[in-house]
Amino acid sequence: MAAGRLSTAIAMGTREQRRRPLLLILLVVFPAYVISRSIAETQATPHTIGLPGGDLVLTSMKELHGAVMAGTAIAFAAGLCGVFVMQSALAGDRRLVLAGYRAGEAVLARLAVLAADTALVVAVSFAVTSLFFTPAAWVPFACAGVLLGVIYGALGALLGALLDKLAATYLMLFLVMTDLGIVQNPMFGDGTPVGWAAALPGHGPVRLMVDGAYSPTFHAGGELLLGLGWAAALGTTVYLLLARAVGTDAERMA
């Protein structure tokens, strides 16, 4: 019974997304444009970066942009999806709860829609990246992209639940540019993030991405665990927060 309700809610959410062709087009065009233009425009200037594990690698800015740009595009698109999926959930899902759904079921259906949008952005980002850049190890490289999508999708959902949509959009831009665009970005400075960068949510996934991009052997176990920890903590917080908000609002309306 519960599984049936959940699958119905997910099917409704998917149908709602299909009715928004512009969204699907933008979720393809946005990462495709940003990644392909960035890589195509970047010069092959030599640059040395530090890998997890301490090795130094001499690469080019063009290769490096290919290695990290997908992460920035994924984080920003997934974050915005999180903001607005959460706003829709808060506006509409209390009715589902009043109609007999458990709050958790309504929330899981919304999170499934967010996961589908994020998966589309991740798939497009890696497809476009592969036209310009081949990582040394695809598995950690792809895992890093998925982790960035989950972490920033959840961060967006959290901001969408707590803030006005304008403030949430501004903050999303601010977070992605600060964390991924500057602090973790190996294109700047000496190619290795500063010590306090580890406190930001993008640190684990970006270091995992750099490891997968340049090293055929895996050295980023700690960074993978850090990213998984952020994803689990943020995902759980979003689930609990939204279930509470939807359930409480529905009780108030009943």
């Binding site: 928004r20 512009l22 969204l23 933008l26 979720l27 065009v29 946005f30 444009y33 940003v34 233009r37 960035s38 425009e41 970047t42 010069q43 200037t45 800015m61 942009h65 920003f76 698109a77 915005l80 999806c81 903001v83 607005f84 999926v85 706003q87 803030l163 006005d164 949509k165 304008l166 403030a167 959009t169 501004y170 903050l171 831009l173 601010f174 540019m177 600060t178 665009g181 500057i182 970005n185 294109m187 700047f188």
Partner: protein, 239 residues
């Protein structure tokens, strides 16, 4: 006139009710000018552009901050307030005055954002041509009021609209003068002329009358587009 002023003031307060929004309207320009500008020169260098030196990168960062903030703001103004604006128009204010009040609110917030960006820029580097810089930063803001309002008029979904504003911003930023080595059709974004003015003002060079004219034309076109977008949003179904 008094109803117009009251409604315009309400539209400004509508966006400043959330203290965090107000804080971000101040923090993001400061962030762009102080932090983002510090890596922008390296970034432009990687892209084969010639945007070098603290004055140029700080100046262009100030313009981009004003552009993004005002674009998103104008988009949400159109997108979030169709119902309320139609009711205001139908209640006697009229679609044209609602649209003018919306533009007045967007311009007022654009002036605030531009002022923060300008003061930060001044405090950081000093500015060779301060009034030219202030006008160019404000031009970025007003051009994006037009971009955001146009997207809001054409796109009803808020996720789609905000992604589209960001996409336009990304295309525009990449195609800015001195950012890349390539030209072509993508080298003519909406703020290209304003960016030339801003870089020139930041680095102490003068700009020609033709460049000022091009920026004035872009701003006028953007505000006309914004008026059309707000007017359409307030007018539809109002009878």
């Amino acid at each position: 006139m008094s109803a117009f002023a009251t409604v315009g003031g309400s539209f400004v307060r509508e966006h400043l009710r959330a203290p965090l929004t107000l804080a971000l309207l101040v923090v993001i320009p400061v962030f762009f000018v102080l932090i983002f500008a510090s890596v922008l020169g390296e970034f432009a260098d990687a892209l084969g552009g010639t945007l070098a030196g603290g004055a140029a990168t700080s100046a262009i960062s100030a313009g981009w901050a004003a552009a993004f903030l005002c674009g998103a703001l104008a988009f949400f103004q159109v997108s979030s307030s169709r119902g309320a604006d139609r009711r205001l128009a139908a209640a006697g204010l009229g679609a044209a005055r609602v649209a003018l009040a919306r533009i007045a609110a967007a311009v007022a917030l654009g002036v605030v954002v531009s002022a923060v960006a300008f003061v930060t820029l001044w405090a950081r580097n000093g500015i060779a041509h301060p009034w030219h810089s202030a006008a160019a930063i404000l031009a970025f803001a007003l051009i994006y009021v037009g971009v955001g309002a146009l997207v809001g008029a054409l796109v009803s979904g808020q996720l789609e609209g905000s992604l589209l504003v960001v996409l336009v911003f990304a295309v525009d930023a990449f195609s800015g003068p001195s950012m890349t080595s390539s030209g072509g059709i993508l080298a003519h974004g909406p703020t290209r002329d304003a960016a030339k003015l801003l870089i020139a003002a930041g680095t102490g060079q003068s700009s020609s009358g033709g460049e000022w004219g091009a920026v004035a034309a872009a701003v006028t076109a953007a505000l006309a587009v914004a008026f059309g977008a707000f007017w359409l949003a307030a007018r539809s179904r109002s009878g």
